[in-house]
Symmetry: C2
């Protein structure tokens, strides 16, 4: 039969990243294109021990249906932890455990957007979120990011021009793909602008705990006085992404609608995953684990930067300095064809990188950037990969 | 702030079931309201053993990001199993692993429905699916079910009257809540009608393996010659619901859009859950496990029926015979106020049952039914619960 798809998904296609990742499956290809945490960062033996214990002591909790809101001890633990450590969560807030932070972003659009309503996004931004807004009929309006976060004048203009804007989507720390962190001052302005134009803020913070340099910047949610901010936290980068656990902290009426919608999506988040997170927080020194992670990523980032300085900077490629996260955002000199550079990298030089236009609201807009990941590859792979990119750069940049 | 919700979710509220379940949390209340599989049916030691093994042998597979389509060995295993055992899956089909069958139903609506498009449902039907269609702007049109499944004349009339119908949603085996199974003849007619009106069929089959009586009826998907049927399978009732694993078998173009949308919802299904399923199928005698499940549910259903015959039938309550699944669908005599009967049951008699109108497209439509579950309560709880219902029935039915 001929399928008649919904208007919203008709033009929704697998992202450009996926095409690159196809090549990356070739064992000869060095992948600098992933967004995976370092596998050596997984606390495997702790998780194995906790798993054995919970399957012995409370197997029914692991295997039976549970409530959509999430595993109660995990909700309690996270509520206290986020309040104490980050001053996140007030009397009007509540918490929902989700299948990764991705689900929070999707649920926010589901409960807030009619078809055609505007979502304000950073440009560039995380492709998974952009596609999820698209799949629900959200119209994306991009606001350029500067070295200290969104351009606030452009943000206000975008809100002025789009009365049907429902929320602002931001990744304030070590943004994917740019690596940029929004300054405290801009966070305050962002909150005030959101209040002025009466829109919600979705604060997606998967990388906040991975700061290996510089000063911590308080979350926008910590400034939230009127229940305007939906905070999206995640265990993907600090414990393990394969378990798919995230948590939304948001005002109770917002969360109530998100809960009804989540019930219709997956009933609740997988219980083994939730109980592993709860027991990990309760029985392992989480802060020590985070400190180890930061040490690991600091070393990997430093190696990546030194390789970029050695092989790419001399050819005219520039990069944005980052203080955390998993990525370095590089830029080819004007006049160099970026998509063809990325394609040649993987086909001729067997090194996979992500073309920057994959993160644009309109993939066909001009773009000179590409994204390098330093968390997934081994040191050896990084050395080989960046050296090969350097060879290609010397060949194509005159 | 005042939240401006999307039109689709504005009137979406937690279901009536949830209100009942709130009372059911009271330890004095006997719950006959759940839809949970029997906890004694969980193969706890097999799962614990498999879990220890996979966390030892392939921890990175369990913990790292994976592909949206699902864990490749599980996809292969299920493809073969469903083809060999149920003749499901042809050359044009593919398979997607999901967070329970609930996600399949939701993704089907997401890829097929524009706001206001019609979804044809059995009346009554599973509230979780109905809410999920509502959350995406689907307009529900109900088709009454008879003792052998949907009324086919009413189905054809509904399709004639709604040119914007996009799919027919059916639970053909031991339907929730009615317990009814669609006959082979009606399955053939349903497929022909769907073809005539060029709509998709979503065949939700969580209970198919739980037949404890009568002859197996082939799946509608086994008749699918033109890629019109999305088959939704689930491990929730045959292994464990807390792991949240389902699988969609559908034509590749349909599945491709569902995959892009799933990526925007949760990236992929939790890996521990997927690998547990795969290893369970590969290393345990699944057919023997299913046979044990059927024995268990046969006994529980027989006990429930004998209790209904003893305590409820003499008061004028009738029930529909079922050959499998988890539920018995009962009916109060005309003139008895069903919602108040259910409310008094839980408040005055401490026994929780689900009012039948919770499964209607319009909850305020007249309804004399209530649903009893026999899989979750112990034998003792069933005896106490149904006896209490009998007391109430004798009191209110004159």
């Amino acid at each position: 039969m001929e399928y008649k798809f919904a208007e919203t998904v008709k033009n929704l296609n697998p992202s450009a990243i996926r095409e690159i990742l196809k090549y990356a499956a070739d064992p000869e290809v060095v992948s600098l294109s992933a967004g995976n945490p370092a596998p050596e960062a997984f606390p495997i033996s702790d998780i194995a021990e906790i798993s054995a214990r919970i399957l012995k002591e409370r197997p029914i909790d692991v295997l039976q249906y549970s409530t959509t809101e999430g595993y109660a001890p995990l909700r309690t633990h996270l509520t206290d932890y986020m309040k104490n450590k980050h001053n996140i969560g007030r009397g009007f807030d509540n918490i929902l455990i989700t299948a990764g932070a991705q689900q929070i972003v999707e649920l926010a659009a589901k409960v807030l957007c009619n078809r055609g309503d505007v979502v304000i996004c950073e440009a560039p931004s995380f492709i998974g979120s952009l596609n999820s807004f698209r799949s629900l009929g959200g119209k994306l309006v991009g606001v350029p990011i500067e070295s200290d976060g969104m351009d606030m004048t452009a943000l206000e203009n975008a809100l002025k021009a789009n009365a049907n804007a429902k929320f602002i989507y931001t990744i304030p720390n070590f943004q994917n793909p740019s690596g940029i962190t929004m300054s405290l001052e801009k966070r305050r302005i962002l909150y005030e602008i959101a209040r002025k134009y009466d829109v919600v803020i979705v604060e997606d913070n998967p990388y906040g705990d991975l700061r290996f340099e510089g000063e911590h910047v308080p979350a926008i949610k910590s400034m939230d006085e009127d229940g305007r901010v939906i905070y999206a936290g995640s265990f993907s980068k600090v414990l393990a992404p394969g378990i798919r656990v995230g948590y939304a902290i948001a005002a109770t009426p917002l969360l109530a609608k998100m809960i009804v919608c989540k019930q219709g999506e997956d009933v609740h988040t997988a219980m083994w995953s939730q109980i592993i997170c709860e027991q990990y927080l309760a029985s392992v020194d989480f802060e020590a684990h985070l400190a180890e992670l930061r040490d690991l990523y600091r070393k990997k980032a430093q190696l990546m930067i030194s390789l970029i300085e050695e092989h790419l900077v001399p050819t005219g490629i520039t990069y944005a300095h980052t203080q955390g996260g998993l990525f370095v955002w590089c830029r080819l000199p004007d006049g160099v064809d970026m998509p063809s550079f990325c394609k040649r990298a993987v086909i001729d030089y067997k090194v996979a990188i992500v073309p920057g236009n994959a993160f644009l609201i309109n993939e066909s807009d001009p773009c000179q950037n590409f994204r390098l990941n330093f968390s997934t590859p081994t040191d050896e792979a990084m050395k080989i990969g960046v050296a090969r990119l350097g060879q290609l750069a010397r060949e194509v940049i005159k």
